[in-house]
């Protein structure tokens, strides 16, 4: 009968916590940057400028139809061949941002397309400026509609970020790999690391629910 050895894992718990902090930094950074990219690209995708629509479509389709692991290999190992090189953690942030930006674009685009044109016409009739119309009449209701999809994509991003450990970034999964190779308690290490990811995703979804209650408190339009 196998006896579990959790003591050496918990002796290194501080390192796992440091890794968890890096995971949160990377994923929160990618969420914020990715949100900006998503909004800009979704605006471009729904604009009437055809070349812009095409560029954004190619970006979204290429990223959404290739694995994140290959994307990060391409960015970290492939791009230096053409003179663009990153350290592991910045490379991870870039890869995560580009990745979540594509998914976010598609989600927000769906939200924007759900806005009735009459709303925009009403805004024009009220004399709002273009940017005001986009911000208050298109973007905010669109974000409200797609908020659940967007935040579950963000949580998925946090889980996906474990993959950046393969390019020797210093996230939680990488910390787990280090602890594993020193303690030889593989199963126990990864049980603890997995539990930490579960706690983080649970906390994150709690935070997103709280943000939703505060940010979208006004009554729903009919």
């Amino acid at each position: 009968m196998y006896s579990f050895k959790f003591a050496p894992v918990f002796a290194n718990f501080g390192r796992l916590l440091e890794g968890a902090a890096v995971t949160l930094e990377l994923s929160c950074g990618a969420m914020l940057l990715g949100l900006v990219i998503s909004i800009v690209c979704a605006a471009a995708r729904t604009s009437r400028i055809v070349p812009l629509q095409w560029i954004v479509s190619v970006y979204v389709e290429v990223i959404r139809n290739t694995p994140f692991l290959v994307q990060i290999f391409f960015i970290y190992f492939g791009l230096p061949a053409v003179g663009i090189s990153f350290n592991p953690n910045p490379a991870a942030l870039v890869a995560l941002t580009i990745n979540v930006g594509a998914y976010g674009t598609e989600i927000i685009r769906a939200g924007i397309e759900s806005i009735h044109w009459g709303q925009v016409e009403a805004g024009i009739a009220l004399g709002l400026k273009r940017l005001q119309i986009f911000r208050y009449i298109i973007l905010k209701p669109a974000l409200r509609t797609v908020y659940p999809a967007l935040t579950s994509q963000f949580i998925f991003l946090m889980l996906t970020s474990s993959v950046v450990s393969v390019i020797s970034a210093t996230d939680l999964a990488a910390a787990g790999n280090d602890v594993n190779s020193e303690t030889f308690a593989s199963f126990e290490t990864y049980i603890v690391v997995t539990a930490m990811y579960l706690v983080m995703s649970t906390i994150l979804s709690g935070i997103f629910a709280a943000i939703q209650r505060v940010a979208f408190r006004y009554p729903m339009a009919r």
Partner: protein, 218 residues
């Protein structure tokens, strides 16, 4: 010695993609069976079954697939099996796909109007007959587009099995990179092969979603 990237290397990549497809099919079939069980238990009358499935889904959707693969890989040794990346990948991907498909199909089962279940009960149909002939056929119709969409996700996620040492498309790309030193070209090609497999599925899923949206908007 540095090898040139030639036709041979390209062929190796294309053949490695077979393993990606095989893994995706295994995970999809295993996950399909598991997912159906999860979805049925998740919508069952028994509170214990429902709660157990909520926990199962939350655990597998709330943790990274990479960790699930590691646990399956290292867990095999603990439970006295010889460690085999293919088996570990099959176990982890099946459990992972079961949770996701279970959650997708739960939504589809619950989207069938409750009156259908009540009518079937009034006709004296038992649980299996009710599910088999009344609820599931109606749920299956709306389940197809999101299921195809998840298949794309699964196909991409098989790339993670390269990290536990299974040689599929991504791992073959790494191996070829390490002898040709052409990462830009090789990973670009690997991405292109994934794209060639996933994009048609994405388009099919989108096309079916549009058809369904038209049908329900009327």
């Amino acid at each position: 010695m540095i090898r040139q990237f030639g036709w041979n290397e390209f062929e190796l990549l294309v053949f490695a993609a077979r393993w990606t497809i095989v893994l995706a099919i295994i995970a999809f079939v295993g996950g399909g069976i598991g997912g159906l069980i999860v979805a049925l238990l998740r919508t069952a009358d028994s509170r214990v079954a429902r709660t157990a499935m909520i926990v199962f889904i939350r655990v597998f959707q709330g943790t990274p697939l990479l960790m699930q693969l590691f646990l399956a890989y290292f867990g095999m040794a603990i439970f006295g099996f010889s460690v085999n990346p293919l088996i570990a990948a099959m176990i982890a991907l099946t459990a992972h796909a079961s949770a996701y498909l279970g959650e997708i199909w739960r939504g589809c089962i619950q989207a069938v109007p409750h009156g259908q279940t009540e009518a079937a009960k009034a006709l004296g149909l038992h649980y299996f007959a009710r599910m088999r002939h009344v609820v599931l056929p109606q749920a299956a119709r709306i389940a197809v587009p999101p299921t195809v969409g998840f298949l794309v996700q699964l196909l991409k996620e098989t790339s993670l099995t390269s990290i536990i040492g299974f040689v599929e498309l991504t791992r073959q790309g790494q191996i070829i990179t390490s002898v040709t030193f052409r990462p830009f070209l090789v990973f670009g090609l690997v991405a292109a092969i994934y794209f060639a497999m996933c994009w048609p599925l994405t388009l099919v899923a989108r096309w079916m979603e549009r058809g369904m949206a038209r049908a329900t908007n009327r």
